[in-house]
């Protein structure tokens, strides 16, 4: 397999991780909002920030894959 193929698989694995992470954050945020609609704004803000953190780690992987491929 060429280095490009391996890089693509690496990017794919990074995306799986980010998908699971952001999915869990989204699910938990929705549940929390349903329980306490009065603090919806705060939950949304923290959910976005946490999603950004998870996404950043995945993007490190994608950037490395991009540089290799």
């Amino acid at each position: 397999m060429t280095i490009t193929g391996i890089a693509a698989i690496g990017a794919g694995i990074a995306v799986i991780g980010a998908g699971m992470g952001i999915g869990r954050i989204g699910g938990a945020a929705m549940e929390a909002m349903a329980r306490q609609p009065e603090i919806q704004g705060k939950i949304q803000t923290s959910a976005l920030i946490l999603a950004a953190f998870v996404e950043a780690v995945a993007l490190f992987g994608v950037v490395v894959a991009l540089l290799q491929g």
Binding site: G41, T45, L48, I49, A52, F53, E55, A56, L59, F60, V62, V63
Partner: protein, 366 residues
């Protein structure tokens, strides 16, 4: 009232989105015709994502239309300036420009100076030129630099205009451009600066946070507008690094003694743990701005790459039947990208505010 506003918003989004995809399709097509050999989507996409020495607009037949920008080089023999049109749209290193006794070529959107006596570029095995070197300093007005100046001018006009409106009006009721800017400024103040930095100290950091928010947002949006969308400014790692370095400097210099104590001698943990934690926390100072840098760069670049990849599918399959599917998908991605422009500006600002807030936080308890 509300319904019509939503309708207008959707219409606006679709207008912008359809124009963008149309122009990119056009460019992809032209690019493919120009290369005249096997279609290489990777080279095409990378060329569009990277910085260049001019705005390439459209090709009609053999004729290429572009806006050329000045090239400014600092070489061994001093300053050299010429317009990028001298290269005649060539970026494969074929056209040699002679200026002040020195020869220059544009190879893969980098300017190389040929060694004395050489007349043509020789490429080595690794794809790098063997008989040429980069000039000492390349301070050309590239399309990214140009777009940065344009966005600075636009921001300047909007905010000076808004400030004038407040100065003139008797009451503090916003009018004209000010009524557009005020909710956004209040959003940055009430939803970003106040909760993250704290009621007492937020005012000092407001100018920086507002600048970062509007500058990144505007440049993200400029990245999606046709023709000038070639300037992928926020998808340039040097640009995002500069923004992240500003946050790093502000955080470091406004850190109070509690902040530094938490880094070098964490209170409330046993001594071996303190020694163990100090290097980790020290690395943490640098990883925060680095993650800011990578996040913005990768998000915006990924958006551009996805849109161009979907368009490239038409040329990979060499079939017109794929075109409606790729146009529909890239339209969908562009609508998402419009949301992403705002979200990424928001996230950069809120994380900057969070890091500054951590540095200036007061600890009354213990």
């Amino acid at each position: 009232m509300k319904l019509s506003a939503i309708k207008t918003l959707f219409l606006g989004i679709f207008l912008i989105a359809s124009f963008t995809s149309f122009s990119q399709e056009e460019e992809t097509l032209q690019e493919e015709l120009q290369e005249k050999h096997d279609f290489d989507p990777k080279a095409l996409i990378m060329h569009h994502v990277k910085d260049a020495y001019g705005f390439h607009i459209i090709d009609i037949g053999e004729k290429q239309y572009s806006i050329s920008l000045p090239i400014i080089l600092w070489t061994d023999n001093g300053l050299v300036t010429f317009m990028s049109s001298a290269f005649d749209h060539d970026y494969y290193g074929n056209v040699v420009v002679e200026k002040d006794g020195m020869r220059f070529v544009n190879y893969k959107e980098k300017i190389y100076q040929l060694n004395a006596g050489e007349t043509a570029l020789v490429k080595g095995e690794d794809g790098y030129p063997t008989n040429a070197s980069k000039p000492i300093l390349d301070i050309s007005i590239t399309k990214n630099v140009f777009m940065m100046w344009v966005s600075m001018l636009v921001l300047f006009l909007i905010f000076i205009g808004a400030a004038r409106k407040y100065k003139k009006s008797e009451s503090f009721v916003p009018k004209g451009i000010a009524s557009f800017v005020e909710p956004l400024v209040l959003f940055v103040r009430d939803d970003i600066a106040r909760p993250m930095i704290g009621e007492k100290k937020y005012a000092r950091y407001m100018p920086y946070l507002l600048t970062v928010f509007f500058f990144i947002w505007l440049n993200n949006v400029f990245g999606l507008i046709p023709i000038i969308n070639a300037a992928n400014l926020t998808g340039n790692i040097a640009f995002t690094m500069t923004m992240a370095v500003f946050t790093f400097i502000i955080t470091t210099f406004s850190g109070n003694k509690h902040y530094w104590k938490h880094i070098f001698w964490m209170p409330g943990v046993p001594v071996p743990m303190k020694i163990f934690l100090a290097p980790i926390e020290l690395v943490g100072i640098f990883t925060k701005p680095i993650s800011l840098m990578i996040r913005l760069f990768a998000n915006i670049t990924a958006g551009h790459i996805i849109v161009l990849s979907l368009m490239s599918l038409i040329f990979i399959f060499k079939s017109l039947a794929v075109a409606p599917i790729s146009v529909a998908f890239s339209l969908f991605i562009i609508v998402i990208e419009i949301v992403v422009t705002a979200i990424q500006a928001y996230i950069f600002t809120i994380l900057s505010a969070l890091y500054i807030g951590m540095a200036v936080e007061e600890h009354e308890h213990h």
